[in-house]
Symmetry: C2
Subunit: 402 residues, 2 copies
């Protein structure tokens, strides 16, 4: 029998508790032994909890208990999750987590500490919630050089854009709707400004190419400036606007990455990822495009991934699972100008001036009086920005995904 | 360094060879050691091959070579693949395969022999080609009771239906097109009659519920009777027709499964799986719906999955990966009447007679003069068949997916 602990009894933590109870039989069969929960760490009181004897406020109860072999860190935030995780790994316990911020910030260090202590640090739930993506990327596509990753990695923004696309709601209306439905927090900045997706594409990139991609190097743009007109232009062009976490390995080995709204043609499966769902498209040099789809957040889906990692840690208790990346002094991240895209733009300027500034461009039917809409040739971010600044006023500038 | 062999130098076998050469560096990094190919077994001559010294016609060269630890069985067919695999596993070598027929027929026996010899028998490539599905289902969703699996598991039939849907081609034209493009064999029966998809849903079901689901118990219907009119009716109803491998665990633990064309509403992501691609939707009681998408066939995609299994076998050479299911004498398979569906039907009979026979039915706009089109209430297969036989002539009867 393996003994386990949960750190943080919030949404995900209580989901892990529920799954360990509800699916105990299935979990025992999968792990090859029973997983018994011995502690729940939380600073709050849970006097009404049916197993209130499990609760502790002192992490040392877990660290010093030699019986505990696996801990689910689902408290979120950098501190004290970072310090607790280090101590637990050093004490020879495997740690599994849904904490994308911690993995993106201290992943390479924590993976190294896990390796030194011959235990596992796993984070399937940190990207894509319940969607299997970390293990498939790491193991099932192991014979491939990963060419590109493009993912709808944030359910909140996908819900907002979907409401704009499908129900003709403005950004503000859609955001309020998302908040009313519990899909967006009262302070939605981390989602709508792209920071959440940024941590996730950093984790996927580090894993895919084996070197830590520093998330602070990833150009990140949210969806706050997307308007209903943009969405209607996209529809007229047979496309939709989605917030995409994008990463690609360049010929020189460096990784180009961004988080930004992109125009996705309707014939690409990413355009069909609706509502709060996530979809992650991975392109391997041998397998081509594969996509993983499902609930990218939520109590039980996320807890399902955390629990799967607990099971895997128990199975691999005598042998580490080979998930890791290294932190190097090399220049891993490419800059925003190392990759060209075509852009969809709208301006109050004339087609004549657009032609003068852009040369190579494709005009599209204007949907708003007094403005010119067009698609540029392939440009770097700086080129696009510089040229746009030469027009009288640029309303919209969105990269086109292909 | 791990030594490997390939059995069968056809499409997939030569793909495995190519990947081992092209991506040797990536594979070594993933496996933790180099994988060196020592033998290729094929009864044909390959005198022009740059490594013709690797070829042998005698399987005993591989069986008796204690250096060889992992063998890719990509010869296809039941015999002699079955005998060879048994001997290799008994000789302490892991075997990985793309051979769905062999896995569906002798899977439980071969998995047992592998277990007894503390080696691995892996078959990621047997379902969904290059799409990660076996390992995600087995490991990433390990904390879930699997509720249902519904998959587009055969690229040939999906291509044919897609051509009918998109390009208004008849079944015969679309089949010819598929043959011309190399997507269908000259004798396409195994694909268009659903036998290929049947083996695959049997494998997924056995894995999901841990007990061998005998594929001969799975009701299997192909797409040969689907007409352009059916496809147009589906379009008018906001749906498409797809060949679906369907499996569900009933309350009593038995597994209901079928392979049949089904009407899929356009808001279901399975409706967006176009062309030769495969998509497999798995529903877990905790995670909800997740979907896996990609190339379900083809040389390099399939070989990519075979090679990933070779890498995993090398990593797990000292400890078996826990993939298995058991063969029991219990009644595992439910019958065709243990699950009800609604049906889309077309008849030359009158709406009045339909009403008399079916009672509960929903008439839909007829697209062909002289016929009545309708959707039934929930019926078992026998009920649907019996009632349909009471009409003057039933042209079409297709289950509706929800």
């Amino acid at each position: 029998m393996a003994k386990a602990a949960i750190m943080g009894y919030g949404t995900v933590g209580s989901g892990v508790y529920d799954i360990l109870k509800m699916n105990a039989k299935k979990i025992e069969a999968a792990a090859g032994e029973q997983i018994e929960l011995k502690y729940i760490l939380d600073i709050r009181e849970f006097d009404d909890h049916p197993e209130k004897h499990l609760f502790t406020k002192d992490v040392n109860d877990i660290i010093n208990d030699t019986e505990v072999s696996v801990v689910a860190e689902v408290m979120g935030g950098l501190h004290p999750a970072y310090e607790f995780t280090k101590e637990l790994l050093s004490a020879g316990k495997s740690v599994v987590t849904s904490n994308k911020e911690l993995v993106a910030t201290y992943g390479s260090e924590l993976l190294k500490i896990a390796e030194e202590n011959n235990v596992n640090y796993m984070f399937e739930a940190s990207v894509g919630g319940g969607i299997p993506i970390i293990r498939p990327l790491n193991r099932c596509l192991a014979a491939n050089n990963i060419v590109r990753i493009a993912g709808i990695l944030n359910g909140t923004t996908n819900y907002i854009l979907y409401q704009m696309i499908t129900n003709d709601k403005s950004f503000d209306e859609a955001l309020k709707d998302a908040q009313a439905n519990g899909y967006a927090e009262r302070n939605p900045a981390a989602d709508i400004e792209g920071h959440d997706a940024c941590r996730k594409i950093a984790i996927l990139s580090s894993l895919a190419w084996g070197k830590e991609v520093d998330y602070t190097n990833i150009g990140t743009e949210g969806i706050v400036n997307i308007t209903l007109e943009d969405v209607r232009y996209a529809a007229a062009a047979g496309a939709v606007i989605k917030l995409i976490g994008y990463a690609e390995q360049l010929e020189d080995g460096r990784v180009y990455a961004h988080v930004a709204p992109m125009l996705i043609k309707n014939d690409c499966l990413l355009s069909d990822i609706d509502d709060v769902y996530n979809g992650i498209m991975v392109t391997g040099d041998m397998v081509g495009d594969v996509m993983f789809y499902g609930a990218g957040a939520g109590k039980l889906p996320t807890a399902s991934a955390v629990t799967a990692d607990m099971i895997d840690s128990v199975i691999h208790s005598e042998r580490r699972s080979l998930i890791s990346w290294e932190k190097t002094d090399e220049n891993v991240s490419a800059g925003p100008d190392d990759k060209k895209f075509r852009y969809f733009m709208r301006t109050t300027d004339t087609a004549e001036n657009v032609s003068k500034v852009f040369g190579d461009f494709e005009q599209i039917k204007s949907l708003v009086e007094g403005e010119t809409a067009f698609v540029t040739g392939e440009l770097t971010a700086s080129e696009a920005e510089k040229k746009a600044s030469e027009l009288s006023e640029t309303i919209t500038s969105i990269r086109i995904f292909k």
